[in-house]
């Protein structure tokens, strides 16, 4: 029987399964953690997934009609245990179905990568020396290497060389060498040790450190690890940490030490779970934003926080893990992928790598939303990047009832006729606040229902029981006290809406100015990739209504998950991807938005919902016509 490819979004994990097995079984096979308390019998109703192409699977079963609302059924919701794909299928996993409460995306999309890691092992049998063959040990080893290794330029770590004569003789001239980038021998072991070859990909986020332990013989992630970035104790955000590091050399060392402790802890976690000896980890690839990059390396980071925000270095760095302080094999190499600019770091570059953005034939856009939102526009012929100061609103800061995407956060919502609000919360519990994706939904829905106007101002409407004068300003009540876990109303204020408009305007302005730089208009955009944890959970229709991203058909919007870690992993398993990173770091142009003369005007225009210039958002005009907004 022919196999079917099931793709799980937003984590981008693919699996080939035999025809006839359920989506839940496919998820179990590939290790995607779906909730299914009843074990797949259609009883608990927790394994909800979304399928956009209804014909790609069997018809809806009774068990599903029991657990899914009519609205869910219309929206393509299914129970994974009851759904049998008929052909290749894309599955979207809603947040409530994911097992973990606080999600850190540890997977992103996984483009096909040829397995060709920078580090490799070769099992060699050397001829024993004799008086008629007195070739020195290292040259004897070189001679035995296959032609594919650059013979003449091959070097050997001094510390490995020191012990080489003993190892060769104790091993009876039967050894395994570990070669880095076809140019340096970094380990020699007795016998055939080729199976023990692992790599470690790390995404050093400002809040979280995520690591993949990868078997470099197969290219597969064997285990993952994650931890809060321990630097959080020295400042929740980047600016606070830079300020702390600026105070003294000791502080700089402290921040370096704690982040390395965190990385080592993720490594130890993954190695323990996979029962892999960390001595067998030879290559480590790290990505992170520019400040994380500098702090982790112990590089003076002060100037990345002061205008003109200049980093110390952008090129790829290869450093001995022993020197750096990462506890892999003693002779291991840590590679920091290159960065683009002060606010476009290696994590953003990894997004580009993972999406193979640089190979796209048609102009596309990549947006990774965060406190700083990185945007790329371009194609295989070249691209331009910028960083937008979108601020922490979408992470809950400066929003009255804002919160991070944690348990109890309202993560999506709809306004119903009669101003009823239907919402879902992370962890399926009573809500305590709004996270970013719900903020987008909320502002878009309020706009659709003419609760706010295009300037974001509340439109007086006495028939709306949720619209009221709060402490000092108008607000819209999303959830009443009796519904919430805090026993207080959850509302959005006039000021909150302004913060959200500012954030979205900053992002759209970046998109818009990059498009201008590339001489691209909306219709030229073949794809918009939404990367990162936040980007994976937003409703694309609402994002367009809000005017967060350019108005392209929704099918052209792709959620790509945590591509930073996937890009790091690709560079780990593929020398080509690593070289692409170097090339892109040199070639991607960086646009400093502050230097663009039309920046202020663009930003002001983008404060409107969706935009002052409605021609930019044709798909949104239907709401405006309907409700009479202008």
């Amino acid at each position: 029987m022919a196999s079917i490819t099931v793709t799980f979004n937003p984590i981008g994990r693919e699996v080939k399964v035999t025809r006839g097995i359920s989506i839940l079984d496919a998820a179990i096979e590939v290790g995607v953690p779906l909730r299914a308390e009843c074990g797949g019998n259609g009883i608990c109703g927790k394994c909800k997934v979304i399928i956009h192409e209804k014909n790609a699977a069997n018809g809806i079963r009774d068990a599903e009609r029991k657990h899914l609302s009519p609205r869910e059924l219309v929206s393509g919701y299914r129970l994974a245990c009851q759904t049998i794909p008929k052909r290749d299928i894309d599955i979207l996993i809603p947040r409530e179905t994911m097992i973990e409460e606080r999600k850190i995306l540890v997977h992103g999309i996984a483009k096909k990568t040829t397995l060709d890691p920078t580090v490799r092992k070769l099992h060699l049998k050397l001829n024993k020396p004799s008086l008629s063959d007195v070739t020195p040990d290292f040259q004897r080893l070189q001679q035995t290497l296959p032609d594919s290794c650059k013979l003449q330029d091959l070097s050997i770590d001094y510390t490995v060389l020191r012990e080489l004569p003993d190892i060769l003789r104790e091993a009876g001239w039967d050894i395994t060498v570990t070669i880095w980038d076809d140019e340096r021998i970094i380990d020699v072991q007795p016998g055939d040790a080729t199976r023990e070859l692992y790599g470690f990909a790390v995404d050093i986020g400002t809040s979280k450190i995520v690591g993949h332990l990868v078997d470099l013989n197969t290219g597969k992630t064997v285990e993952t690890g994650r931890i809060e970035n321990p630097q959080v104790s020295y400042g929740a955000d980047i600016i606070t940490r830079i300020a702390f590091a600026m105070e003294s050399e000791t502080n700089r060392k402290t921040l370096k030490k704690v982040v390395l402790d965190g990385i080592n802890s993720v490594l130890a976690q993954a190695c323990a779970k996979a029962e892999v000896n960390s001595d067998h980890v030879y290559a480590t690839v790290l990505v992170g934003n520019t400040v994380m990059h500098h702090l982790c390396l112990g590089i003076q980071s002060k100037f990345t926080g002061l205008s003109p925000y200049v980093p110390a270095v952008k090129s790829q760095l290869n450093i001995s893990t022993a020197e750096l302080g990462i506890k892999t094999n003693l002779h291991g190499i840590a590679t920091f992928l290159p960065i683009i600019a002060g606010f476009v770091g290696a994590d953003a570059l990894a997004d580009v790598i993972a999406t193979e953005f640089d190979e796209l034939k048609k102009t596309s856009m990549l947006v990774d939303i965060g406190t700083n939102t990185e945007v790329f526009v371009g194609d295989f012929e070249g691209m331009v990047a910028c960083s937008c100061a979108s601020g922490p609103a979408f992470e809950g800061a400066r929003i009255k009832h804002g919160m991070k995407a944690e348990k109890g956060a309202i993560e999506s919502l709809q306004i119903k006729p009669g101003f009823e609000v239907e919402f879902t919360t992370i962890g399926d519990v009573r809500p305590k606040g709004l996270c970013g994706s719900a903020m987008i939904d909320l502002v878009a829905e309020m706009f659709k229902f003419r609760i706010i106007d295009s300037k974001g101002r509340f439109i007086p409407d006495e028939s709306n029981p949720r619209l009221r004068k709060g402490d000092q300003q108008k607000e819209f009540v999303v959830a009443w006290a009796e519904e919430t876990s805090t026993k207080k109303d959850i509302a959005i204020t006039q000021k909150d809406i302004g913060e959200i408009q500012l954030a979205k305007a900053a992002i759209f302005t970046g998109c818009s100015l990059l498009m201008k730089t590339q001489n691209a208009v909306r219709k030229d955009l073949d794809h918009i990739f939404l990367a990162g944890t936040f980007g994976s959970y937003i409703n694309p229709e609402n994002a367009k209504i809000l005017g967060l991203i350019p108005d392209v058909p929704t099918k052209r919007i792709e959620f790509v998950g945590n591509t930073a870690i996937m890009g790091a992993k690709m560079a780990l398993v593929s020398k080509k991807a690593m070289k692409t990173a170097e090339k892109l770091s040199r070639e991607i142009r960086y646009l400093e938005l502050a230097t663009v003369p039309e920046f202020s005007r663009e930003l002001t225009d983008a404060m409107f919902i969706p935009h002052k210039d409605l021609k930019k958002f044709p798909s949104v005009t239907k709401y405006i016509d309907k409700v009479g907004n202008t």
Copy 2:
């Protein structure tokens, strides 16, 4: 007035002087340390030098006739203070004229080398960053470099990068970078520090460590340093040291530590004398025999001492001086020149570099005599090398009254009619023994005077008062008790002669087998270079009579001094020379004499004085005819 080039041998130092100045003044000008207690007034008679081309200088003056014996006058002896060269002239400095008692040759011949060291400094003024130019610091630095540096591949030491942002800003973007091999920045200093660029060339001998501190802006040695190799405490010879190192890892570390202490002491000595800060020393080039090389690097050296005597590595090694333990600049690089084989080390390769042997159009030979004697035969199209186990006889070991070339050693001698022996001693004191050069003279003279036959056996002669039966065997008295400082006769025994024959036979066999390998006969030899301290003081005529080296016209024999240190210095000041060393290490074939089937027969034949096959020594037959030896 046109200048005249005066070349001082055996140290090979050249100086251009104006016509009319004395050889003593020329020596003072170039810093050659000649004895001249009277200050150059022809009174003390100590500044004896030898000139082979009499017409190249003024006629002999009265002061010279007073101090020089008729025999000395015939041999070309002059007083340096009384001799005015008329044209370019070669001066040979006899040992007694050198100021130091125990000579370590710190200079060798100095071929013309283009100044192009691997390490260089560049003074750069960078543009200050701004919002419209946010190029990262390191890339900004790269952009400012002249085109001649490989821009794209340039890397920077991690430890330098860490401080780069601060240095650039504190220095107001006006800096000096130190670049290693056009590919790596190893230091960044504020302002213009280009003048502070020094290198250090080191010859790690089994007995002595010699170092040259070189100004890499001029290529000139500014100071030299020397010391006994402190490893001597753990064994006078190589074999004892290998045995000590084999005992334990701790011993190996001890030998590494003490030799590095020695190197650091030579460096400190030279830096102190020259008033150079060792922080300004960036490049260090080291040569030494294979065992010294391994012991200094802490490489397991056991197997270089066990058949088949295989070294761990032959290629050039570049190691951070900080990692190795040499106290130059923190970011300095130590380069160990490559070796050829277990018994043909980097010191021998440096001989080849210094003599530019690899560029010779005609077949030549290079011989560096020691406990192991390295021989090279070849030309620019290729060469072959071997090591001869000549043993320590020429250094005084196993010879009844043998001694090293130290104060009190008879260093040259002649037998006069009536069996009188005329000799010179190092330091011009009463003799206490014979050093190697005197042993060669002695055996050759005894052969010429038919005191011994071609097999080295004493020929009974009752008219010879010096020939007697000693304790257990026949011996020839060189100096009577009343002449010596020990108040005992200095004599050479039958067994001593055997040891010397064995040593010379080992060397000649190497010469002979290499010539066969290269299809060269005696007449093809355009040059024989005698390298090393010992080789510089032997009498070439007597060497031929003994059968130590092939019988070529004496003018084709060139004494080249301590070429090992000169080769190291050439590699230090010239990237081309360094690359040549790498190339030669790969290309020079090594002949393991023990594997040559005719080795034993060749060795047996070479035990004869000068050789069993007299056709090999036509110039010696005159003595045989005269004295009837066969």
